[in-house]
């Protein structure tokens, strides 16, 4: 082995703690970076990626079963590069025990594959006769696995068993069955891949060409992939800024910590460098030796980090797939390569810069570094803490950062980043909870006429659909029944009317509110709630789509009648894509109430109340149901888990930064610590002294990191809202109280103490006689 090789081998072998610290830091940094960079990667155009992977349908056309033949549907169409189908399709409504279900689009497909819309089966298996595969876009489809759903409006009223859950990025069906299950198709679905589909005009032209191949009226409907994309992107875009923030934080923090670790490790070897030079090593050889000494453990850490990052990314990506609604996400090879190259590059550059500095030192100076008298920095702090009524080891520890300000600064940076991550994470979780809460606009206990069913909440039953409010329903009788029912506290009505917005090609739902709005809970973003007829509050997307602002007038056209309202407030409401206008019911007096929302007196049993009210309503042909608005969304839970995991990673990296700084410091002070122990300092007092040495820095790191986290939160949150096309309620921003902020600052101390505990234990356990002999 060459002299250089021997120096490298012995350097790595003899300085095992530093080698382990470099390896461990690199491992954590690479793990966090693989996760962070993967999140950045998958957040980049996830719809386009999933669409390409599934060979998504650019144009989904439903042909009339009455006016076309399957032979006509396989004709060659110019500009079409691939087709799937024709698949028999039918719209069918599942039975619900309570409430009313939405009709489902069922498509008969023999298998999930094909040249277009290769559906991904995420659970179970594909449907055979008498079986059903649910779309993953159905709320909680996995809970329905194995259940039997009756479709009484299909010929023979079949009951299908749910055997799988699948995802179609093109959203071509609510459920898939075997073709034989659809004995009387209402139409046929054909899926097209187009040579050019970048613009609406191109897709429309292809649609026209497809329509031309069948008789007049043969096309029941067509859907462009651009419309599907708009819908999908709006759902997922809200998460991109959050993932970008965490991804970047992880990468930047990893770079800083690895840089600090390597610089510290090389810096602590300055005296050895001097000895090597005295023996005849050139500065260049010294630099190469030290770069190699850092790179060997870093390479091991990088390799392990890549493995760990991939292993951890698997469950995280599985969850992210749900967020993005994509089929399969994986860690990209280029991400791994970039992270590994980046990590080793950072190690090499940092080691080179530190070793080059040491290599340029005069040999005698380099040798003297290890024995030089202390610089005298921070003695004022030692004198100050001697006067404080503290145990002496604690006082000595508190003064320590002032003796090594550069090392304390590195520790401070690590703590500050960790605290920033925790602050951002807690802020985002709180804000997401506020947003989720704000989406629940109705706090009433009982509803009449509001569609609150869906597959999630309605248990399966052969019972048929329940009657709802119709134009003929006697509203006065309904309100009289509610008023007369014992236990009614208050109620309000909503009259829902579709309207056109004059001057723009946009339609909206008008919601006319009447009665006591005590149990409604819309959250205003700006302005005021409407106070008189003619005033309106609207969600942010409405303002964006119509180019209006609070204070503007807007004209709404209802069945030929124009009604002008003044927008007096902006409200948080994402339903109907935010295209809603909330007014006093008197603004549209002709519109009949379409739902009633009832709050019951405290202590009233809702089930008993419902029985009584439904008895009274039965002659009117309407049914009251318990309110099922709200609940914690899956997405919120998912984001909470993701945030917790990412935060844990970043805190671990921060803790490792602290660990490294304390290890270096205790190594430097090993002889001093030996003296302390020889004078009678107990192991516990040594631990107290070492831990105390990071408390002040942890506190300052927390004090720096918390405001940074708050600022980041205030930047990320509006970006999330903007991506989703909506403003957010003020409560979503004001999530940090003084107590929370104080606790978060103390979190900086906690990170510092946790990072220091292990080296403190080592310092306490060092044999005194050995420490006293150390140079």
């Amino acid at each position: 082995m060459s002299a250089l090789g021997e120096v490298v081998r012995s350097g790595v072998g003899r300085r095992r703690v530093q080698a382990v610290v470099i390896g461990l830091s690199t491992l954590m940094a690479v793990t966090a970076s693989v996760l962070g960079a993967t999140l950045l990667d998958v957040s980049n155009a996830p719809f386009d990626k999933a669409f390409a992977e599934q060979r998504g349908s650019h144009l989904t056309v439903r042909f009339s079963a009455d006016k076309t033949t399957t032979g006509q549907l396989t004709a060659n169409v110019p500009g079409v590069t691939a087709t799937s189908g024709p698949f028999p399709t039918v719209s069918a409504t599942p039975h619900a025990q309570r409430g009313q279900r939405k009709p489902m689009t069922l498509v008969g497909r023999a298998d999930p594959g094909g040249p277009v819309d290769a559906v991904t089966l995420s659970e179970g298996r594909w449907a055979g006769p008498g079986e059903l595969v649910l779309s993953a876009d159905t709320p909680m489809p996995e809970r329905l696995m194995g259940s039997r759903i009756a479709f009484p409006d299909l010929p023979g009223g079949p009951t299908l068993t749910v055997v799988g859950v699948a995802r179609s990025v093109s959203r071509t069906a609510d459920g898939w069955v075997s073709p034989a299950t659809i004995t009387a198709p209402a139409g046929y679905q054909v899926l097209y891949r187009l040579a050019s589909a970048d613009t609406a005009d191109q897709v429309d032209a292809a649609g026209a060409a497809v329509a031309a191949t069948v008789p007049e009226g043969g096309v029941d409907g067509a859907r462009s992939w651009l419309a599907v994309k708009r819908e999908a992107v709006r759902e997922t875009a809200v998460f991109v800024p959050f993932l970008v923030a965490f991804g970047l934080l992880g990468v930047v923090m990893s770079v800083l910590v690895v840089g600090n670790v390597v610089a510290g490790a090389v810096g602590s070897g300055t005296r050895r460098i001097g000895i090597l030079k005295a023996l005849g090593f050139t500065p260049s050889q010294v630099v190469r030796a030290y770069v190699a000494q850092a790179l060997i453990p870093a390479a091991v850490g990088t390799a392990l980090g890549v493995v760990a990052g991939n292993l951890l990314a698997i469950p995280m990506l599985a969850e992210t797939e749900q967020v993005y609604g994509t089929a399969t996400l994986s860690v990209a090879v280029r991400v791994v390569a970039a992270v590994a190259a980046g990590a080793l590059g950072v190690v090499a550059v940092t080691a080179w810069a530190s070793a080059a500095r040491a290599g340029r030192l005069r040999t005698v100076d380099a040798i003297a570094v290890g024995r030089a008298a202390p610089t005298g920095r921070g003695r004022w702090a030692t004198r100050l803490t001697a006067r404080l009524p503290l145990p002496r080891p604690v006082g000595l520890g508190l003064a320590r950062p002032f003796a090594r300000p550069a090392r304390a600064a590195a520790l401070l940076v690590a703590v500050a980043f960790g605290t920033t991550a925790v602050t951002l994470a807690i802020g985002l979780v709180s804000s997401l909870a506020v947003v989720q809460d704000a989406r629940q606009t109705d706090l009433s206990d009982v509803v009449i006429g509001s569609f609150s069913g869906g597959l999630r909440n309605a248990p399966m039953s052969p019972e048929g659909p329940r009657p709802q409010l119709t134009p003929a329903t006697d509203r006065a009788a309904v309100t009289a029944a509610i008023d007369a029912q014992a236990g009614t506290k208050a109620f309000y009505s909503i009259a829902r009317t579709p309207v056109a917005v004059a001057g723009v090609t946009a339609s909206a739902d008008v919601l006319g509110f009447g009665g006591d709005l005590g149990s409604s809970r819309y959250q205003l973003i700006s302005g005021t709630w409407f106070r008189t007829p003619g005033e309106a509050v609207v969600p942010s997307p409405f303002l964006n789509a119509t180019g209006t602002r609070v204070g503007d007038d807007v004209t709404l056209e209802d069945r030929g009648q124009a009604v002008t309202v003044r927008i007096v407030g902006e409200v948080f409401d994402t339903r109907n894509d935010g295209m809603r206008v909330l007014v006093d019911a008197a603004t549209f007096p002709e519109a009949p109430a379409t739902s009633y929302h009832i709050a019951v007196e405290p202590g009233t049993d809702v089930t008993t109340y419902l029985e009584g009210l439904n008895n009274a309503l039965r002659p009117l042909g309407v049914v009251a149901d318990p309110n099922q608005d709200g609940g914690v969304g899956d997405t919120l839970l998912l984001m909470g888990a993701l945030i917790a995991f990412l935060t844990l990673m970043l805190v671990a990296v921060a803790g490792l930064g602290v660990f490294n700084a304390v290890v270096l410091d205790t190594r430097d002070r090993v002889r001093d610590l030996g003296v302390h122990k020889a004078l009678g300092t107990t192991p516990r007092q040594v631990i107290a002294m070492v831990v105390a040495s990071v408390v002040v820095t942890g506190l300052i790191g927390g004090a720096v990191g918390v405001p940074a986290g708050v600022v980041l939160h205030q930047a990320v949150l509006p970006a999330m809202g903007e991506s989703a096309g909506t403003g957010l309620p003020a409560a979503a921003f004001g999530v940090y109280g003084p107590v929370e902020l104080a606790l978060l600052v103390l979190g900086g101390v906690a990170i510092a103490v946790l990072g220091a505990l292990l080296p403190a234990g080592w310092a306490a356990g060092t044999r005194t006689a050995t420490a006293l002999r150390a140079e």
Partner: protein, 225 residues
């Protein structure tokens, strides 16, 4: 007969399977004695000192100092033992460079729970009696070797230990300073302080102690004067 300050019985210590650093060594030191432990490098002198100071544990045998069985003490207990029963003086002083002279001397007293004012008073008294009071607020780096060792002795005595252990106390000093420290140790012994000096310097052993123990290859023998 008075109770011994140090009593070693059949103490053996071996490191990493090598030859014994100490082999069935027995030693008794009574109050007021000044004992020199002489021997060449690697003979086992430091091992013996570490065992007495509770910095190391024997493989076999017992070590009792001032009535305390040192060989069975845990880390915390041996720290408390060191701070109350013994004072240590090292070849290279081992003063803490970031503390002033007075703070260095007061540190063991504060560790032992002495009130701050009392620790200061005792420190001032010791620094004055050892002739380094004018350096109380200076840092050790500014002192000469002899002055540093005087400060180290003051620190060792601050808790009024039953035993003063000195490991090559003049090894890092010039001749004049060495003689000065030797005289100081003799004076302390004359005042009743039990002193054990580990050294390879025969002249030092003769000048400040009245009894000599020689260690050769881990075996302890008494040398007649």
């Amino acid at each position: 007969m008075t109770t011994p300050v140090i009593e070693l019985r059949d103490v053996s210590r071996r490191y990493d399977g090598g030859p014994p650093a100490l082999h069935e060594a027995s030693l008794t030191v009574r109050p007021g004695e000044a004992v020199a432990i002489l021997g060449p490098s690697g003979s086992g002198k430091s091992t013996l000192l570490n065992l007495i100071a509770g910095l190391d544990r024997p493989d076999a045998g017992t070590v009792t100092v001032d009535g305390v069985r040192v060989d069975g003490l845990g880390e915390a207990a041996s720290a408390k033992y060191r701070r109350t029963r013994i004072g240590m003086v090292f070849q290279f002083f081992n003063l803490l460079d970031d503390l002033t002279v007075a703070d260095n001397v007061a540190l063991p007293a504060l560790l032992a729970g002495t009130a701050r004012a009392e620790a200061r008073r005792r420190t001032a008294e010791l620094l004055a009696s050892l002739g380094v009071a004018r350096h109380a607020d200076a840092y050790p780096g500014r002192l000469s070797g002899g002055e540093r060792q005087r400060v180290a002795v003051a620190r060792a005595l601050v808790n009024r230990p039953a035993l003063l252990l000195a490991d090559e106390p003049t090894g890092a000093l010039d001749t004049t300073s060495g003689e000065d420290v030797s005289k100081l140790l003799a004076e302390l012994n004359a005042d009743g302080q039990t002193v054990v000096v580990v050294t390879h310097d025969l002249a030092l052993a003769r000048s400040c102690t009245n009894r000599t123990i020689r260690i050769v290859d881990g075996h302890v023998t008494e040398e007649n004067r």
